[in-house]
């Protein structure tokens, strides 16, 4: 609402202009809207009259949006199971306490309602500080981008996982890579006593740009990955070298292994989830209700952190996973707007003569 408040002014003075020009003296300031601080300007006043309808409109809109968001969120089905193995009755108790490599345990759970749509499988960690400053900076993006020099000469920032004891460069270097999550899962549907494996798809779980641009394997014509990585050692905690992470898919190895990429995108908060797999195959668009068995290759120690490990199955909508907060917040704020609007209306009606008592 632009008030052309000063326009008459400008015209008024511009007609003077020619007159002034003729007898203009040396020191006379220019008569322009700018120098005279008379630029045309919109001068809004936040009065009740404008704010009131605004409140009602915003209130209405927000309540509408809130309901929409809440419905969307409620349509998302989410299913969470912990498998840390702390309690005695937990199947993973033995694995959690015996630090044997590739210890297997299973987790049985029941899905009461069939899940419609594509389901995403996440693993979750709690009390795990991926956002610790020392941890966060312990990586070498140049090495991960496949620059050959940095492959053999990792950055200082990777310390204490820059070089191993024999002074061989570690690839990938740094604390983040070293603490790569290495539990593995296999999911079975208990189809009338018969375990049917639910196929898990590990592609496109990392950002496309991470996979294709930011991270890449060092290239060297005519040599395979293991040759390229010759002269480097695997991170201390790893059981497999980086070029051998995915035995099933040779293209999913090295620095662009998707599980690795997901891990390298460090979480903002100490309780976090990371995308593990998408359910594919027969169950890709429909998970029937019933019993499922998750077979866990238990490697990752969290007991001392003290943290928990979880798996989460969730569908997603356009707004992502299940998130009540947005819907509720919109609803609350919308109603608040409405309430304030009414209060304002009352105040306005009651004290409307205030403006009358102008000094």
């Amino acid at each position: 609402m632009l008030i052309v408040f000063f326009l008459p002014h400008l015209l008024y003075f511009s007609s003077y202009w020619s007159k002034i020009l003729k007898m203009k003296k040396d020191n006379k300031p220019d008569n322009t809207a700018f120098t005279q601080q008379r630029l045309p300007a919109w001068q809004p006043v936040l009065s009740v009259g404008i704010v009131l309808p605004l409140f009602f409109i915003i209130g209405l809109a927000f309540i509408g949006i809130g309901i929409g968001l809440l419905i969307t969120s409620n349509n998302i089905q989410e299913f969470e199971e912990e498998y840390t193995g702390i309690g005695d009755n937990s199947n993973c108790y033995i694995c959690a306490n015996n630090a044997t490599a590739n210890c297997k345990c299973t987790l049985n759970f029941t899905i009461a309602q069939p899940i419609q749509g594509s389901v995403f499988m996440y693993y979750g960690l709690t009390n795990y500080y991926q956002n610790h400053q020392k941890y966060l900076s312990s990586r070498d993006d140049q090495q991960l981008a496949g620059e050959t020099y940095y492959l053999k000469n990792p950055s200082q920032s990777c310390k204490p996982y820059q070089m191993d004891i024999n002074n061989n460069p570690i690839a990938p270097c740094g604390s983040i890579a070293n603490s790569f999550f290495n539990d593995a899962f296999a999911l079975y549907y208990n189809n009338q006593g018969f375990l049917d494996e639910v196929k898990l798809d590990g592609s496109a779980i990392a950002w496309w740009t991470d996979h294709n641009v930011k991270f890449s394997n060092p290239s060297q014509t005519g040599s395979n990955l293991s040759q390229i990585f010759e002269g480097t050692v695997k991170p201390i905690n790893w059981s497999k070298p980086v070029y051998n992470l995915d035995v099933n898919n040779p293209d999913n190895n090295g620095f662009i292994n998707e599980d690795f990429l997901v891990w390298m995108r460090t979480a903002a908060l100490p309780d976090f989830r990371k995308l593990y797999r998408r359910i594919s195959g027969n169950y890709s668009s429909f998970m029937p209700s019933g019993n499922y068995t998750l077979e866990i290759t238990y490697n990752y120690p969290v007991k001392d952190l003290p943290g928990k490990k979880k798996v989460i199955f969730s569908t997603v909508s356009w707004m992502g996973g299940k998130n009540q907060f947005l819907g509720i917040a919109y609803l609350v704020f919308g109603s608040l707007c409405f309430v304030m609007g009414f209060i304002l209306l009352i105040v306005y009606a009651k004290y409307q003569n205030v403006e009358d008592n102008d000094d």
Binding site: T35, Q37, S47, F120, Y135, S157, R265
Partner: protein
């Protein structure tokens, strides 16, 4: 012999005996530059880092360099480097200009008498003792003692326009013994020694003597300011002069006057520094808290060193204390942005750019004298909006300082001047209307014969008036010569006088018939009714402020020696012996009551013996090197006594236009106006009344002519009691200089109490230093009010420098006041616009600027602090370092700068016509504790909302993307940052009341720039960066629908309470400013009401008008609130309708 004098041997002819030790003097090089090529960098850096803020950032930068900190040193180094570089370039450029100017001045060709001839050399080569030749219209290259000019009597004319702005011609003279040496060869022959004081800055003081070897005898002559030609002054009307250099280079009076500009700091700056300290405390508190919590956390090993985050050997082995300190410093660095470096840059820029608006303002431009307002310092702009006391000079400030002779009292009879004739009072009516101008002279005196006895005294009086002065005549009329000849008037004389009174008096006697023809240094000639009379000028006893009179001693054509004196009646009447003393005293009071400036004229006849004694004493005192002034004063008082009273004159000083309105406006704005004047009591009161400073309804209290301490105290208590008894009506207080000094000596507190309760105070008979003392007294009183002093003359300089804001009037009494002022305006009436409009604007602008800056940095840093609670106090930054660096420089800097240049809460004309609005911002209202707390808390609240809003959105870290993928910590930080940039920008948008296209451009532009920049920054793998943390983070964030919804929600949530608060306050408790804003948009435009409420006349007419409107239904308030977009072209069109005087005349 004396250490405080210097001995100059003319032409450097040193004495030839062995005991002589040559004195060392400075060379004639002027160095105004501060730096040389070699010391520029170290010296400039040193000076810049002496500023506390720069030093702080330097420390932070060094800390970042030294220890391993979470942010790279670039984040604070770059802005610091930018600020330092920009300042250094600016100062370097200025210095380069100074160097250029210096070189030009120092290299200018001058002519010096050396080795028997005139030698051309460069200005910088002049030594003390050199004889320098200066030709017409050249400036003097050093302070010279005039030796001779091309005139026989050794006089010359100069103007000192470039020194003190006075454009009148001043006569300087040489001592007779040297004046005869007009050629180079004869100058060579002079053997003379000058002894004078060591250099001092006072332009008008020079004490010295010259010893000339003349015809084998030593003649000693006094030297005073009239013998000294100052560097920078210009020779006029004289073909050439020779002078000997006594002060050279940096020791010249001009150079000594370069410096000593006191630094004034505004109240806003002081509050800003207080805020800074508070924020420093907050910063330290946050850092200490974080450090302590970090160590509390780390006490358990599982938090200190979990298996996935092992320490390096080095970290394990480093000393605990060192680690603790380095942790503390790292937190300090992490949070250091809470003190914004860009605040200083922005404030400086705002002040510098903003101050142009004063000079540009057409309303502050004086058409007749072609002078616009002048800003000498931009540091005090906002102080103009805080003034509580105005101290104003009277003559030349409230009045035009354009003197007009009006009346006189001669020997007990009062006369008026009508059409160039003196008419005895009461006879004016009888005067024929059409008087033939040819007959004027005859007619004039036709009236005198009615009292034939007195006619001789009348003529003596007129002669006294036309002889007793220091007026100069200029026959040289370089400009406008053609005009005058075209008009057929060839013998037009122009009088030049340092005091306008003198000029008015001489012109008046000329009109009446006694014409002053000129003064050649030794004689004065007048034409008395056609008869030429030559008087020999023996002595001039110059005017000074203590004696308040001046005298001349003349030899009349008949050979009699006599003295004429004129001066204030209080300094002459007590010394008169004969004449109509009582009648004259009565007349003087009558004249003063009419507001005329009065001067009393007296004479004294000397017997030859008396004169010889006087001459001897004068010569002695004048040649004295020590205590010359005191000795002169003694001699003067010895001479100036036993007067014969001749009469008195009354000179009118016209009031400047709109003085009354201006004073009234200032009063309505809550500003107390004190008039400080040197005039006498009655004159001052009558002028005070006529200019509206005193009202007729005011109860005038007087504290005058107090003789003793106790008497003064009693009177003060009596006044105090009267004020307390009678606090309904307004009081005005009149104090005179003598009583004031008594009151200030012992009863300062009591006096202040009385003054504070008076709505107007008038101090008369004030000496310049007393003026300053009064200002200082008020300034240092417990309330510490902001004072403003305004004046036009040299006598106001001390007061102008003392007050918080000093304003010079570009008047007729030279430019001294203007040079020493902070702002200079052409007329007193401009003061109201300067304070009420510009002051208001600058104050709200800078106050909001300061508050907003702190607010936005609290918003910026608090989420960082909160994040530490979620990352084990590991000093992890929430935002990327590029964002950390650019937040203050790019993303949020321009809107506030543009706001602080253009914001107007209320239309300027409304501000000017509703001075009460000024009270809304008085006492530093926008920077007091409450608003500061509000803004700071607001900042913290917003920061909490950003952070925890984003935190809750992330929840248990569910996916926010449609493809189920996860965000990382950088996305979280970017989300907070995005919300922050938008909120902070929109918060300012809410504060903005004046949306010009520029505000729109920078506000929306800043947000757009942030988005574009982030897309660009995140869209590229940056080749020189080691980490690519931000790669595609922003795009991924924007591709999430949830993030968009969250941004919208959180931004609106942040601003919502603000809107509610301001709406409620505006509706329930509107300030005057807010009411005016409503009026302007609503009632103000369509209703008669609004026109009336601008003026005083509101009470009388507004209710009627309002009732009328109510009946017609035009002005119902319910409609007002909503229909505010209509604007009345009449209102906005016609400026004149809004001026105070005219509004009263609107047909309400």
């Amino acid at each position: 012999i004396w250490s405080d004098t210097r001995t100059v041997y003319v032409a450097n002819r040193f004495p030839q005996h062995d005991h002589y030790i040559p004195q060392k003097f400075a060379d004639n090089r002027i160095i105004s530059s501060k730096y040389t090529v070699w010391n520029f960098i170290p010296k400039n850096l040193f000076e810049q880092f002496r500023r506390i803020a720069n030093f702080y950032f330097l420390i932070i930068f060094l800390v970042q360099l030294m220890i391993d900190t979470p942010t790279s040193p670039v984040t604070s180094g770059l802005p610091l480097f930018f600020v330092i570089t920009v300042t250094a370039i600016k100062q370097g450029f200025e210095d380069w200009l100074r160097h250029k100017a210096d070189n030009e001045v120092n290299g200018a060709p001058v002519y010096v008498v050396r080795s028997g001839g005139l030698v051309q050399t460069r200005s910088k080569n002049i030594r003390v003792g050199d004889i320098v030749r200066v030709a017409k219209d050249e400036t003097f290259p050093a302070d010279l003692v005039l030796l001779s000019s091309d005139r026989r009597e050794g006089t010359c004319h100069v103007t000192t326009a470039s020194l003190d702005g006075e454009t009148n011609l001043k006569t300087h003279s040489a001592v007779p013994e040297t004046a005869i040496s007009q050629s180079v060869s004869s100058l060579e022959a002079i053997v003379a020694v000058i002894e004078c004081h060591q250099p001092e800055a006072d332009l008008y003081r020079f004490v010295g003597r010259i010893t000339v070897n003349h015809c084998e005898e030593e003649i000693v002559r006094p030297l005073g300011p009239e013998n000294l030609l100052l560097r920078g002054a210009r020779l006029k009307n004289t073909k050439e002069i020779f002078g000997v250099a006594v002060y050279t280079g940096m020791e010249t009076k001009m150079a000594l006057n370069y410096k000593s500009k006191s630094q004034k700091r505004s109240a806003v700056e002081k509050s800003m520094n207080t805020f800074l300290m508070i924020y420093l405390v907050i910063l330290l508190f946050e850092a200490v808290l974080s450090t302590i919590l970090k160590y509390a956390w780390q006490a358990e090993e599982k938090w200190d060193e979990p298996w996935y985050n092992q320490k390096t050997e080095q970290e394990r082995n480093s000393s605990k204390i060192l680690k603790f300190i380095s942790d503390f410093l790292a937190f300090l660095v992490l949070y250091n942005f809470i003190i914004p470096i860009s605040l200083y840059v922005t404030v400086e820029m705002q002040k510098f750019l903003g101050s142009f608006f004063i000079g540009w303002d057409l309303d502050l431009y004086h058409e007749e004298s072609d002078q616009k307002a002048q800003v000498n310092t931009s540091d005090l702009n906002e102080e103009l909006g805080q003034v509580e006391y105005v101290f104003t000079d009277k003559t030349g400030t409230l009045t035009e300082n354009e003197m007009q002779f009006r009346e006189c009292s001669i020997n007990g009879v009062k006369y008026q001047e009508i059409n160039g004739k003196l008419v005895p009072e009461g006879m004016a009516e009888d005067l024929p209307d059409a008087v033939d101008s040819n007959l004027v002279n005859n007619l004039t005196w036709a009236y005198f014969p009615t009292r034939p006895k007195s006619s001789e005294e009348d003529i003596l009086f007129l002669k006294a008036v036309s002889l007793c002065h220091t007026v100069q005549i200029s026959y040289d009329q370089a400009d406008g010569l053609g005009d005058r000849q075209a008009n057929g008037i060839l013998h037009q004389m122009e009088y030049y006088a340092s005091s306008p009174d003198e000029k008015a008096l001489v012109e008046a006697t000329k009109r009446i018939g006694v014409t002053f023809n000129g003064n050649n240094g030794e004689t004065m000639s007048i034409t008395s009714f056609g008869k030429l009379e030559i008087y020999k000028l023996l002595h001039i006893l110059e005017f000074d402020a203590n004696r308040r009179r001046m005298s001349v001693i003349l030899q009349t054509p008949s050979g009699e020696k006599m003295l004429f004196t004129k001066g204030a009646e209080s300094s002459i009447l007590p010394y008169t012996k004969t004449g109509e003393i009582d009648k004259t005293r009565m007349h003087v009071d009558e004249l003063a009551l009419k507001g005329l400036r009065t001067l009393v004229i007296a004479c004294r006849h000397f017997t030859p013996e008396e004169y010889i004694e006087i001459d001897r004493r004068l010569h002695e005192a004048r040649t004295a090197l020590q205590q010359r002034e005191e000795r002169l004063a003694d001699v003067f008082s010895y001479i100036e006594k036993d007067f014969e009273l001749l009469g008195a004159v009354g000179v009118e000083d016209k009031l400047q236009e709109k003085v009354q309105e201006t004073i009234e406006a200032l009063r309505m704005a809550g500003i107390k106006v004190w008039v400080l004047t040197g005039d006498k009591h009655e004159t001052a009161v009558s002028v005070s009344l006529s200019c509206g400073h005193f009202h007729r309804t005011m109860n005038i209290l007087e504290l005058v002519q107090q003789k003793s301490d106790s008497e003064c105290a009693v009177q003060l208590r009596r006044l105090d009691k009267r004020i307390k008894e009678d606090h309904v009506i307004q009081h005005g207080l009149v104090v005179d200089g003598a009583s004031l000094s008594l009151a200030l000596r012992q009863h300062e507190k009591l006096f202040m109490d009385v003054c504070r309760n008076c709505s107007a105070v008038l101090c008369c008979r004030m000496a310049p230093l007393q003026k300053a003392k009064v200002v200082r007294l008020l300034k240092t009183s417990p309330e510490k009010p902001i004072t403003l002093a305004i004046g036009d003359g040299a006598n106001d300089v001390s007061m102008i420098q003392e007050a918080h804001v000093g304003i010079g009037i570009m008047g007729k009494e030279g430019r001294q006041a203007v040079r020493n002022s902070d702002y200079a305006i052409a007329r007193f009436k401009f003061l109201s616009k300067l304070l009420l409009v510009h002051g208001h604007f600058y104050y709200i602008r800078i106050a909001t600027l300061v508050q907003y800056f702190f607010y936005k940095n609290v918003c910026f840093i608090t989420p960082q602090f909160l994040y530490q609670f979620f990352c084990l106090f590991s000093q992890q930054t929430l935002y990327d370092s590029v964002y950390l660096t650019l937040y203050n420089i790019c993303f949020t800097s321009l809107p506030i700068l543009v706001y602080s240049l253009f914001e107007q809460l209320v239309h300027p004309h409304v501000l000017q016509n509703k001075p009460a609005l000024y009270r809304d911002i008085s006492k530093n209202a926008l920077l007091s504790c409450k608003p500061f707390l509000y803004w700071t808390l607001l900042g913290f609240c917003h920061a909490f909302v950003f952070f925890f809003g984003s935190y809750l959105l992330m929840g248990e870290d569910t996916s926010l993307m449609g493809n189920g993928q996860m965000f990382g910590n950088w996305t979280f930080g970017t989300l907070v940052f995005t919300i922050m940039v938008i909120t902070v920008t929109l918060k300012l948008a809410l504060e903005t009341h004046f949306w010009t296209w520029m505000n729109h451009f920078v506000t929306w532009g800043s947000i757009a720039f942030y988005f574009i920049f982030s897309l660009f920054y995140g869209g590229i793998i940056w080749p020189f960066l080691h980490t690519q943390d931000m790669y595609f983070v922003f795009v991924q964030l924007l591709s999430s629908g949830s993030a968009w919804f969250a941004i919208i929600l959180i931004v609106i949530t942040c601003l919502f309470p603000d809107v509610i608060k301001s709406v409620f306050y505006r509706h329930l408790q509107p300030t005057n400013t807010q009411k005016t804003q409503l009026n302007r948009n609503g009632i103000g435009i369509s209703c008669l009401d609004s026109m009336c409420c601008f003026s005083d006349g509101e009470k009388a007419c507004a209710p009627v008008g309002r009732m009328l409107d109510r009946m017609i239904g035009r002005c119902s308030p319910t409609r007002v609130g909503r229909s505010w977009s209509t604007s009345d072209p009449y209102y906005s069109n016609d400026r004149s309708i809004l001026t105070l005087s005219q509004v009263e005349a609107t047909p309400c």
